[in-house]
C-alpha cells in the first residue's frame, strides 16, 4: 500500500514525466517535485513522484556506514 519504488527520469513534459523502471517506462505525475530534471532518481508511489532521491546523499550514507563499521 505504502510501497514506493525508485525510478530514473527520462522525459519531462510540463508536470508529467516518464521514468525508467529497469527497462520498463512508466508515465508519472511530477506535480510535487517541480524542480526535477532529466536524470534525477525519484521515489514513485501510486503514479506520483513523492520526492527526489539524492544520489549524493546515498553515496555519503554508504561511505559513512563503511567508516563507522570498518572494524
Amino acid at each position: 500500500m505504502c510501497l514506493a519504488i525508485p525510478g530514473k527520469i527520462v522525459k519531462i513534459h510540463d508536470d508529467t514525466g516518464v521514468v525508467d523502471l529497469g527497462g520498463i517506462n512508466q508515465e508519472i505525475s511530477l506535480t510535487f517535485i517541480p524542480q526535477v530534471v532529466i536524470g534525477d532518481w525519484v521515489l514513485i508511489h501510486t503514479g506520483f513522484a513523492i520526492n527526489i532521491i539524492s544520489e549524493d546523499d546515498a553515496f555519503k550514507t554508504i561511505e559513512l556506514l563503511q567508516a563507522v563499521y570498518a572494524k
Binding site: C2, L3, A4, H45, T46, I50, S54, E55, A58, L65
Partner: protein, 352 residues
C-alpha cells in the same frame, strides 16, 4: 541501482555483529507496512539476537480502515467503485467488496487515483480514499484536478489517516512498552523528520527515520540501541537520500488546500482525536460521503480477531488463537491478515 548499495552482505554482517554486542532487551516498533514486509523478507528477526524485539505497529492503512467504509458501498449498484487492490478482501460487517463484485457490484482495481479519474469520465466513480501521508497528496491532487476539469462524476470516500497523532495515542494508552521507533520512510518523505520531535520532547523516546533496504533497517536499529545506551532519545534521519527535516512542502500544501484534519476511528485502536483527514467544503462536490449520503460508523464485526492488540504491540500475531488456524491470507478473518503489509500476513508468509 541505488537500492542495491543498501543490500551489501558484508556491511550488513558487520552491523549485526555490532548490534549483537548489546545484551539488554529492547523493544523497537515500526509503523510502516513496507518496513513490516522488509523485516520479514530479509529475515531480520532471525538474523538478530532474541533480545532485539521488532514490533509491527499500526502501519498498514487497510488494517485500520473501519468496516463501515466497505458496508457503505456495497449497495451502490449504479456507480463504479475504484480502489487500491488491498481493499478488495477487507471484511466489512456484511462481506467484502470481492463478495459484492461477485454479486454484480462494479468494482475496479486501480494503481493510481488518476486512473479512477479516467474511469469517472465514462461512469460515475467513487474512489476509496485510504492511506497515510504518502498516499494522501496524490489523491488530494486528483480531487483538485477533478474540480478544475469539472469532472463531477468523480468522488472520493475519505478514510485517510495521519501517523503522528496515532503514535501519540499509542503512547498515551500506556499499554505499549516501546523503547524507540523505526519511523516510516515514505510518510516522512512528505511530512519531514521534524514532525516527530514530540517523541523526545513529550515522551522521552527516540526515533530514526529509515529506508527500506536491509542496511537502512539494521543501521536504524543500531542507532536506536546507541540512543538507549547513552540515554539520549532524539530524532535521527538515516534516510537522508529521500527525507529532509521539513519534507515535501508542495505535497503538504496540496493536502492542506483540499483536506482538513478531523477526528478519526481506527480499526483495532479506536477513536483518535485529529488523526484523520476529511475533504474541505470547497471540494464537497467530490466528497462521496456527502454526494451519496453514506453512513460511516465505528461498528466492527466480533470475530475474535486480536488485530488491535497486535497493532499496539501487546501480542505478536502467533499469540492470537485465530492465527494460521481459522485466519489465513486465503480466508482472512481480521484486517491484519488481509493486506500483504499487515503484521499477521507478513508473519504468515515469512516467520512461520
Amino acid at each position: 541501482m541505488l537500492n542495491k548499495m543498501f543490500q551489501d552482505h558484508d556491511l550488513a554482517q558487520k552491523i549485526i555483529t555490532r548490534i549483537s554486542g548489546f545484551k539488554e532487551n529492547i523493544r523497537i516498533m515500526e509503523v510502516c507496512g513496507s518496513h513490516t514486509m522488509a523485516i520479514g523478507k530479509w529475515a531480520l528477526r532471525k538474523l538478530l539476537p532474541s533480545n532485539i524485539h521488532l514490533i509491527s505497529g499500526p502501519g498498514c492503512p487497510v488494517c485500520v480502515t473501519p468496516p463501515s467504509i466497505i458496508d457503505s458501498l456495497i449497495d451502490l449498484q449504479s456507480v463504479t467503485i475504484a480502489t487500491f487492490g488491498d481493499m478488495l478482501r477487507l471484511p466489512g460487517n456484511n462481506g467484502t467488496l470481492e463478495d459484492a463484485r461477485a454479486s454484480g457490484l462494479d468494482v475496479r482495481i486501480v494503481y493510481s487515483p488518476l486512473d479512477a479519474l479516467k474511469l469517472a469520465q465514462k461512469k460515475e466513480t467513487i474512489f476509496i480514499g485510504i492511506g497515510f501521508e504518502t498516499t494522501i497528496p496524490g489523491i488530494a491532487h486528483t480531487i483538485r484536478l477533478a474540480k478544475k476539469k469539472n469532472l463531477t462524476g468523480f468522488s472520493v470516500l475519505p478514510a485517510f489517516k495521519i501517523i503522528p497523532p496515532a503514535l501519540k495515542a499509542l503512547l498515551n494508552s500506556s499499554v505499549t512498552n516501546i523503547d524507540g521507533f523505526i519511523l516510516p520512510g515514505n510518510v516522512s518523505a512528505i511530512i519531514g523528520s521534524n514532525a516527530y520531535e514530540f517523541l523526545p520532547q513529550e515522551f522521552d523516546l527516540g526515533g530514526v527515520v529509515t529506508g527500506f533496504e536491509p542496511l537502512d533497517i539494521l543501521t536504524a536499529i543500531n542507532m536506536l540501541i546507541e540512543q538507549h545506551q547513552n540515554n539520549s532519545p532524539k530524532i535521527e534521519n538515516e534516510y537522508q537520500r529521500v527525507v529532509s527535516p521539513t519534507g515535501n512542502i508542495n505535497a503538504q500544501q496540496t493536502i492542506n488546500e483540499v483536506m482538513q484534519v478531523q477526528d478519526s476511528w481506527w480499526r483495532g485502536l479506536g477513536y483518535i482525536p485529529a488523526s484523520g483527514l476529511g475533504i474541505r467544503d470547497e471540494f464537497r462536490d467530490f466528497d462521496a460521503i456527502y454526494k451519496y449520503n453514506l453512513n460511516i460508523t465505528d461498528q466492527q464485526p466480533d470475530t475474535g480477531c486480536q488485530c488491535g492488540d497486535v497493532l499496539k504491540g501487546i501480542i505478536t500475531p502467533p499469540q492470537c488463537p485465530l492465527f494460521a488456524s481459522t485466519c489465513t491470507p486465503a480466508n482472512p478473518l481480521g484486517p491484519c491478515m488481509v493486506s500483504s503489509e499487515g503484521s499477521c500476513a507478513a508473519y504468515y508468509k515469512y516467520e512461520r
